[in-house]
């Protein structure tokens, strides 16, 4: 086999993606870009050595958790290198937020990480509240934490299903969707929507707790611990699953920190960093919960850590329900909000890590600039470090264990 470089490739009619060329005659899917390499890294990646070949994974792929495309350079069954191609779900959220007023901007940030959308609206809401300097009523804070932790459990439940699915097991996803459907139905009774809740408002929440939500929550809470234990018995005690996930995609602490990882993925490497404790917001300082952490840093640790977090979330929900104060759920605010010029940054701890919003106000009723930091994007970049040297099938497992959501990656 000879060495091929991008320079030898004839110019094709390019299709939608500038990096993909579509050879109409042969109908092949050529992952090599038709232009000369722009960086050294690109030149190195798109040069094939003896025995290597490219495999294109995505954008429609059952286990890429959305529309991610990855060009894998493989040698036999081993992944030598990989090049992720992003942008298939770029919806221009930040730009849209600048053209919407402060209330409407929250609606655009909702579908970023669609399985934990309460967290996507939580950080912009806090940022806007900082700009406006409003005090959120305590009852609203409790409701926020309560619904947020429920959403965290739903998200982790889905993670369990997807992770097992990408390792080849179909049963856990059926189990996890039972859990998830119960929680989202419950939240639908509270917020009116099953997925993109759009529930948090600047200065409070949209609606008060109602009977249906409380009765659903009570029924679910009474059996939740049992359910979670049986879910875990399905996987934690499963020899095949544990052996497959242990020692796979090991991340060490120094690299994790240098790659700016946060959330469960960082805590699985031994750093007990949690925004809820490190930079407290809302009522978290008053609540009693632990920050689980593990030291192995492999896929199994990341999975087990999330399962531990679910138990902590249950503890938080319990406390919220017991200490829920009476009072208003919205601060008194004018309809049209014009914060004074300035900037605000707000970070919160979501199920995937640190969600942050940096908003700049110029005194008008629309944000001048809104920057959204999303943990999925940060975590996805570590796939390039973790995957080389592993098998193709492990690529999916590692990616699933990092739990990226493409809506958040591409924004």
């Amino acid at each position: 086999m000879t060495t091929r470089t991008p320079f030898d490739i004839p110019a094709h009619a390019s299709s939608d993606d500038p990096r993909v060329t579509l050879d109409e005659q042969l109908g092949t899917f050529e992952p090599i870009p038709p232009y000369p390499p722009r960086t050294e890294r690109e030149a190195e990646f798109y040069t094939l050595r003896d025995g290597e070949m490219f495999v294109n994974m995505g954008p429609q792929h059952p286990s890429t958790h959305g529309v991610l495309r990855v060009v894998l350079k493989i040698d036999g069954e081993k992944v030598v290198d990989l090049d992720p191609v992003l942008g298939y779900l770029h919806r221009g959220v930040e730009k849209l937020c600048e053209n919407a007023d402060y209330h409407q901007a929250i609606c655009y940030t909702d579908p970023l990480e669609y399985i934990s959308s309460l967290f996507c609206e939580w950080s912009p809401v806090i940022a806007f509240e900082k700009l406006l300097d409003v005090q959120v009523p305590r009852r609203a804070e409790y409701i926020r934490v309560l619904s947020g932790e429920l959403n965290r459990i739903a998200s982790h439940a889905l993670f369990m299903g997807w992770f097992a699915l990408d390792l080849g097991g179909l049963t856990p996803i059926l189990w996890s969707f039972i859990e998830r459907d119960e929680i989202v139905e419950m939240l639908a009774a509270l917020t009116g929507q099953r997925m993109l809740f759009n529930y948090f408002r600047i200065g409070g929440v949209n609606g008060d707790l109602n009977h249906e939500f409380m009765s659903r929550l009570g029924t679910w809470m009474s059996k939740a611990t049992n359910q979670i234990n049986s879910n875990q018995a399905l996987l934690n005690d499963n020899e095949i699953f544990v052996r497959r996930a242990r020692g796979l995609g090991v991340m060490d602490t120094a690299t994790a920190l240098s790659m700016c990882m946060t959330g469960p993925n960082l805590r699985a490497t031994g750093v007990p960093f949690d925004v809820r404790r490190a930079h407290p917001y809302s009522i978290y300082p008053e609540l009693d919960f632990d920050i689980p952490s593990r030291t192995e840093g492999d896929c199994l640790a990341r999975y087990l850590l999330r399962m531990d977090e679910v138990k902590q979330s249950l503890r938080i929900i319990d406390q919220c329900l017991h200490e829920m104060p009476d009072g208003p759920i919205m601060a008194k605010l004018p309809r049209l909000i014009r914060p004074r010029p300035g900037r605000a940054y707000a970070a919160i701890e979501g199920p995937r890590g640190q969600y942050a919003t940096y908003a700049i106000s110029d005194g008008t009723d629309q944000p001048f600039r809104m920057r959204i930091h999303d943990p999925s994007f940060v975590h996805l970049q570590t796939v390039g470090l973790l995957t080389p040297g592993n098998l193709i099938a492990d690529t999916m497992a590692i990616m699933a264990s990092l739990d990226p959501i493409m809506g958040g990656v591409d924004k």
């Binding site: 529309v67 770029h90 399985i115 189990w175 001048f368």
Partner: protein, 235 residues
């Protein structure tokens, strides 16, 4: 340098920044739909439309006998056709192609609680070659439009398309974005629209039942079916 953002008419707040370092030099982009000057980014400068299927329909190539209902079958509806249609309608194999948020509700429709399998909408196939129905679940961006049309073309006839969610029906909440397609009926034909953001799983199941009815009803009308997008080009 002291920076002063443009005062907005009607704003009675002083738009003066106390500390100059509060804001950096603003990058002023007109407050309209944004288009990249880079010709290859987001189909910059062109209408955000994949015209491939439209041209295909105009060329007449797609009307050749390719296992659509054609030939004698078109003229003589028989009991066998009705039976075949019943079989097709009751064994729809959707393609597993979630694009965004709606995909989660699509999964929810397929799993334990709302088990779509009960109505013969078989669990999702990962390969377009084995699928009958393309459920477009999620925001279709200009970058994803090409691969999506390709998936549609890779599916063997007879095939159907269900647009799930506001984003695929009309653009939904991202209609004003510079990088989304305002409804996939601008790039490919659609049989059933399921609006909602996202639609409930029950909504998707209802849409699929409508599709089953449509399959039974459309018997013998295949040549009239659109190959390309159903939205006029100048819209």
């Amino acid at each position: 340098m002291a920076l002063k953002p443009e005062p907005v008419p009607g704003s009675n707040l002083p738009a003066v920044i106390s500390q100059p370092r509060d804001l950096v030099e603003p990058i002023v982009v007109a407050n309209t739909l944004w288009q990249s000057s880079n010709p290859i980014a987001y189909n910059g400068g062109q209408a955000s439309d994949i015209t491939h299927l439209r041209e295909f329909e105009a060329s007449g190539e797609g009307r050749r006998d390719n296992a659509r209902w054609a030939g004698p079958l078109e003229i003589i509806p028989t009991k066998a056709d009705i039976v075949l249609d019943l079989i097709r309608a009751n064994s729809l194999w959707p393609l597993l192609s979630g694009l965004a948020c709606c995909a989660i509700e699509m999964m929810s429709a397929a799993t334990s609680k709302n088990d779509m399998d009960r109505w013969g909408m078989f669990p999702f196939r990962a390969s377009p070659r084995q699928a009958d129905v393309l459920i477009v679940a999620g925001t279709c961006t200009t970058k994803m439009a090409g691969p999506l049309v390709r998936l549609w073309e890779q599916m063997p006839e007879p095939k159907w398309c269900v647009a799930m969610g506001d984003c695929t029906c009309s653009g939904g909440r991202y209609k004003r974005s510079y990088s989304t397609i305002q409804g996939i009926d601008r790039i490919m034909p659609v049989d059933v629209y399921v609006p909602g953001c996202p639609p409930r799983p029950e909504g998707l199941i209802y849409g699929m039942m409508k599709l089953q009815q449509l399959i039974k009803d459309r018997r013998g009308h295949w040549p009239e079916r659109a190959i390309g997008p159903t939205v006029p080009e100048d819209l």
